[in-house]
């Protein structure tokens, strides 16, 4: 009990909000990843590219593998709604979700900083969100 009080007492509101969001997201990621990978390996759903084809080519560079197999990359997996019902695509989406975890947490931090009128940190956190959004947009990589 005492520790619980201490924990809350030494963290700002923004830290507690960030931690709560992180908790939700981290647990959701773990569940989604486990389910996605299970569907992938068991082939309960069809695969867009057979596992054997990937394992036969995983010694190739990313560029060569892409040229050969046209695997889903970035947001490309969302281009066809029917494609979402593939085990490998669902597993890939779980990885996308993992990469977005920090973005969710930082967005919640921006909201708290703004509500507390902490302008400097609102700006820093918003800039950080912007950097992650630019990375996630694929602009830097010519992604899809």
């Amino acid at each position: 009990m005492r520790n619980g009080k201490k924990e809350g007492g030494y963290a700002d509101r923004v830290q507690l909000v960030y931690a709560r969001m992180l908790d939700y997201v981290a647990h959701s990621v773990i569940i989604l990843m486990a389910v996605g990978y299970f569907l992938y390996l068991t082939e309960l759903l069809p695969l867009s590219v057979p596992i054997e084809t990937i394992s036969g080519n995983w010694h190739l560079s990313a560029a060569h593998l892409q040229a050969k197999l046209n695997l889903p990359c970035g947001w490309g997996c969302f281009t066809s709604p029917a494609g979402l019902l593939h085990g490998d695509i669902i597993s890939y989406i779980s990885v996308i979700f993992l990469s977005m975890a920090t973005l969710f947490c930082l967005t919640s931090a921006v909201a708290v900083f703004i509500s507390e009128k902490k302008h400097l940190y609102s700006a820093i956190a918003a800039l950080q969100v912007l950097v992650l959004l630019v990375a996630a947009s694929g602009i830097m990589t010519g992604g899809r």
Partner: protein, 318 residues
């Protein structure tokens, strides 16, 4: 005559032994990795990768290093996967580890947003640049540089000291402007620790460099974040370690997108690595109070040096 082995040495020795047991038989197999990959069933590699990542997760926690820094050099040296996919998975491994450890550290005030955010902002920009440069370079050159970086990290780990509660007499102007300071409860000594920082501009510069290296090689950069926070900026060790995870999660997330858009993330490789490492880290955290961490740290340094050397040879085409 009976020879007694201290109990605290048994667990590290067992874990290191298990790692070596996995590595040694793999070495001749992996000397011609692509050809062998065609012969060995895919599920064997996936299973070995999971078990290996699990053991790495234990060793990483006990050795006080991030999972990514061990994962990339070892897996790229001893598994048949192309370096691109290993780096992509390495970033996600480091990211997942930092995310799962984050919430309690944030609640205790150990991972500090005001300290971490400015550093992560510069680090995430450079980590994107590092990832772009790393993926544009020929894999053999990256492997060679990786070997040099990993051997340097091993040397830093031997040389670098650490300070539980560094003394900061005069905080710098930038840290005052950013209001970087804090207070946390030290459970070990049952007292409050207040802290402030100095040399923030130099810290920012170093985080830029660290971000670039982390993005380029797919490494979690805890090995460098912690000494910069602790030894350079005067952050207490526990806050340095916890905030390093926060910075690492943001930088890793930024660079991971580059790898994803370049097609360098394959779930078949990434997911068992992440799962194994996360499970291993949890076991490692439970074993931590029971083992001699100094011994395991020396083993980690030896493993790093070995895999760095192997990476170097692979980069030289030997």
């Amino acid at each position: 005559m009976k020879i007694s082995v201290p109990r605290r040495l048994i667990i590290p020795a067992a874990v290191a032994g298990a790692l070596l047991m996995l590595l040694i038989p793999a070495m001749p197999l992996l000397a011609a990795a692509p050809q062998v990959a065609g012969v060995t069933a895919w599920w064997v590699w996936v299973l070995v990768l999971f078990v290996f990542s699990f053991l790495l997760g234990i060793v990483a926690v006990l050795g006080g290093v991030g999972g990514g820094v061990l994962y990339v050099p070892i897996v790229s040296s001893f598994f048949p996967f192309h370096l691109d996919f290993v780096r992509g998975a390495g970033l996600l491994v480091a990211l997942a580890g930092a995310l799962s450890a984050g919430p309690p550290l944030m609640r205790k005030g150990l991972a500090d947003l005001k300290l971490g955010l400015p550093m992560a902002l510069v680090g995430s920009i450079s980590s994107i640049a590092g990832a772009l440069v790393g993926l544009a370079m020929p894999a053999q050159n990256v492997q060679l540089l990786l070997g040099i970086v990993i051997i340097s990290i091993a040397a830093i780990m031997i040389k670098a000291g650490k300070s539980g509660y560094p003394e900061v007499t005069q905080p710098d102007r930038l840290s005052q402007m950013l209001q970087i300071s804090g207070l946390y409860y030290e459970e070990f000594g049952q007292h409050e620790v207040s802290w402030k920082v100095h040399r923030t501009p130099v810290g920012l510069l170093l985080f830029f460099v660290i971000g670039f290296i982390g993005g380029m090689f797919g490494l979690g950069a805890g090995f460098a974040n912690v000494p910069v926070f602790n030894l350079l900026m005067g952050v207490p060790l526990k806050v340095a370690v916890a905030t390093s995870g926060l910075v690492l999660s943001i930088n890793g997330s930024a660079a991971a997108w580059v790898y994803m858009f370049k097609g360098a993330v394959i779930p078949l490789i990434a997911v068992p690595s992440i799962g194994g490492m996360m499970l291993g880290s949890k076991i490692g955290a439970k074993l931590l109070p029971k083992v001699n961490t100094r011994t395991i740290r020396m083993i980690v340094i030896a493993i790093l040096a070995l895999s760095g050397f192997r990476s170097l040879l692979k980069g030289l085409g030997i």
